[in-house]
């Protein structure tokens, strides 16, 4: 087939401009409702469970998972499906362990939960380090992905794409705060779910809406092996470690955790996860159908010729079945997806900088409303510019490991301290601080020494650390350090406040 991929087509530009116009209108509307810190960071806590469920799905379903998993399934078959399941299983665990206590105890950031009874300054600093590292690694992956994907689809130069994404999302976050960010996520989630559903239906129509016929066609073209487990899982320990990172990393992602403060109470937080799990689960169920359809209808050769990683499988299928207009629509959806995810990340990074570090560490919690909002906006600009800079700095680098690194740091640095502060009376300030720092440093160090960076990126012959994802080691170490240091350096003041915290955790007494 002939493809117009890589050229800016009228339909792609039109759909993209429509999305930007609508989202800027929303930002204008939101900006007039964004005057206080609660409005800026938490959308005045007026988002419903259903809306937040869509927004959570929007925050989580990145362009990488849409284009990447469709491509992986198209090129590798069943192995891509195995990979897709891992991305969902964190959501129920997030609900069971963290979401409701987090909502009842905190205000704007997950550090609020830790600072409830631990000493404010050290714990805020440590959790800001964990939070900002997670956000930075995640942002690098998104920005580099944005630059390359937009270059592939629209033919725009890499730097131009990165700057457009950075500037547009900065406008959302800077002026519209969490209200605008939430609505951009909701629109993006609807567009993505709708677009992928349409693509899946058009694909399945070619096989009489019978998955069995689709799989038969896959097997006829690429052999039965395409539907069998292949070489994805060779080392079981590696698979377990990656599974831990995906499952518990979600429980430490600052931009996801922050969303639970946008709903009025724990009950809405709970409902929002049920909605999010439903939307995300549906998304990961239909993406493989898109991937398989692309492998049969477009063909693996063409998909791999245009992009080695298979990222263009879904856009190519869209062009084949719906022509250039549908390709333009799917390309614009991918662009919108990247914009929304980066906006959420920027707001999370800015809140760690301004609310945790500036207001609580530098000013000791004494800053008036006006000053807090002003600082939040300054921090947003800083984080936004940093995102653009990192995107350009990492141009052409292999950043496939960055998302894994973000999840490893999140599950090793942020998650253990967060869970223990909710459940373990004897957790002390020293214990939690040490746990966060050890988790963050160990996860980063081990990833550098692992096959993913040491061999694939730095081109050394053999890895120093054998596992591709260090979660099983770094998360365990982080928990061990939290226990050991808490017992060695106890914190009587924190223990004394545990009862009051408990009543607030479970009964929401005094919750914001």
């Amino acid at each position: 087939m002939q493809t117009t991929l890589g050229q800016p087509t009228a339909s792609a530009i039109l759909f993209f401009l429509c999305f930007v116009a609508v989202s800027l209108l929303i930002t204008y509307w939101a900006a007039r409702r964004t005057k206080t810190t609660t409005e800026y960071y938490a959308a005045a806590r007026q988002i419903t469970g259903f809306q937040n469920g869509l927004a959570l799905a929007g925050d989580y379903m990145s362009a990488a998972s849409f284009l990447g998993i469709a491509g992986l399934v198209a090129l590798k078959g069943f192995d891509g499906m195995i990979y897709a399941t891992g991305w969902l299983v964190g959501w129920p665990v997030l609900l069971f362990l963290i979401a409701e206590p987090l909502r009842n105890l905190g205000k704007y950031t997950f550090a609020d939960v830790l600072a409830y009874r631990l000493a404010n300054r050290p714990i805020r600093l440590a959790s800001a380090v964990g939070g900002i590292l997670t956000v930075v690694f995640y942002t690098i992956a998104q920005m580099v992905g944005a630059g390359s994907l937009i270059k592939l689809m629209f033919g725009l130069p890499y730097e131009v794409a990165v700057v457009i994404v950075g500037v547009v999302m900065l406008v959302y976050v800077l002026f519209g705060g969490m209200i605008a960010t939430t609505w951009v996520q909701i629109i993006k989630a609807c567009l993505l779910l709708g677009g992928v559903t349409l693509l899946m239906l058009l694909g399945m129509a070619q096989f009489g809406f019978n998955p069995g016929s689709l799989y038969a066609a896959v097997a006829a073209n690429y052999g039965q092996a395409a539907l069998e487990p292949g070489g994805l899982i060779t080392n079981p320990l590696d698979a377990v470690s990656l599974g831990l990172a995906l499952m518990f990393g979600l429980l430490g992602l600052p931009h996801i955790l922050m969303r639970f403060y946008t709903v009025p109470d724990a009950k809405e937080a709970r409902k929002s996860i049920a909605w999010a799990t439903g939307f995300i689960g549906y998304f990961y169920c239909i993406i493989p159908l898109v991937g398989f359809s692309a492998s049969v209808l477009v063909g693996r050769d063409l998909i791999a010729k245009i992009d080695k990683g298979g990222n263009m499988a879904a856009p190519l299928l869209a062009e084949l079945l719906g022509g250039t207009p549908f390709l333009g629509f799917i390309a614009a959806v991918a662009f919108a997806t990247i914009l929304a995810v980066v906006a959420g990340l920027t707001l999370a990074g800015a809140s760690a900088l301004s609310h945790d570090i500036y207001v609580n560490v530098v000013k000791g919690g004494h800053a008036n409303e006006r000053e807090q909002v002003r600082v939040a906006r300054i921090a947003t600009v800083l984080v936004g510019l940093l995102a653009i800079l990192l995107g350009i700095l990492f141009k052409g680098q292999n950043v496939a490991f960055m998302v894994g690194l973000a999840f490893a740091v999140a599950c090793s640095a942020n998650f253990p301290a967060l869970l223990l502060s909710i459940t373990w009376k004897r957790l002390s300030t020293a214990g939690a601080t040490a746990s966060i720092l050890v988790g963050a440093i160990l996860a980063t160090l081990l990833i550098i020494l692992s096959p993913t960076v040491w061999v694939d990126v730095l081109k050394n012959p053999a890895a120093v650390f054998p596992l591709k994802n260090p979660a099983i080691v770094s998360m365990t170490a982080s928990f061990a350090v939290a226990f050991a240091v808490s017992l060695l350096v106890p914190d009587r003041k924190a223990q004394a406040q545990f009862e009051v915290q408990k009543v607030r955790t479970y009964l929401a007494v005094g919750a914001e």
């Binding site: 959501w91 362990l97 069998e228 487990p229």
Partner: protein, 100 residues
């Protein structure tokens, strides 16, 4: 009548509420673990089982992968329905006692 936070923390209903919440959360987390790691371990050690044909070409692995996602969602629903019906009611009774 319970009046203070200290009293409510020591009340048997509150202790029971906290225990039941974590027992529920613990069991459901364990089920997610068994579902997901069960599938991953099967991929590692029981390739032949997953490769069994259940249709013209469809392998058993495909519906099982979908099942992992469906079970995760169902467990989420189980928790939400339990919390909406049982947990919230006990919380409401305890809060009433605290306020009066």
């Amino acid at each position: 009548m319970i009046r203070s936070v200290k009293e409510i923390e020591e009340a048997p209903e509150f202790k029971k509420l906290v225990t039941s919440r974590w027992v529920m959360a613990g069991i459901l987390t364990l089920l997610v673990f068994i579902t997901y790691y069960g599938f991953v371990i099967m991929v590692g050690v029981a390739r032949d089982t997953l490769s069994t044909k259940i249709g013209v070409a469809t392998t058993l692995g495909i519906p099982l992968a979908v099942l992992v996602i469906v079970i995760s969602f169902v467990l989420t629903l189980v928790y939400v329905l339990w919390a909406n019906a049982r947990y919230d009611r006990i919380v409401a009774t305890l809060n009433e006692k605290l306020e009066r």
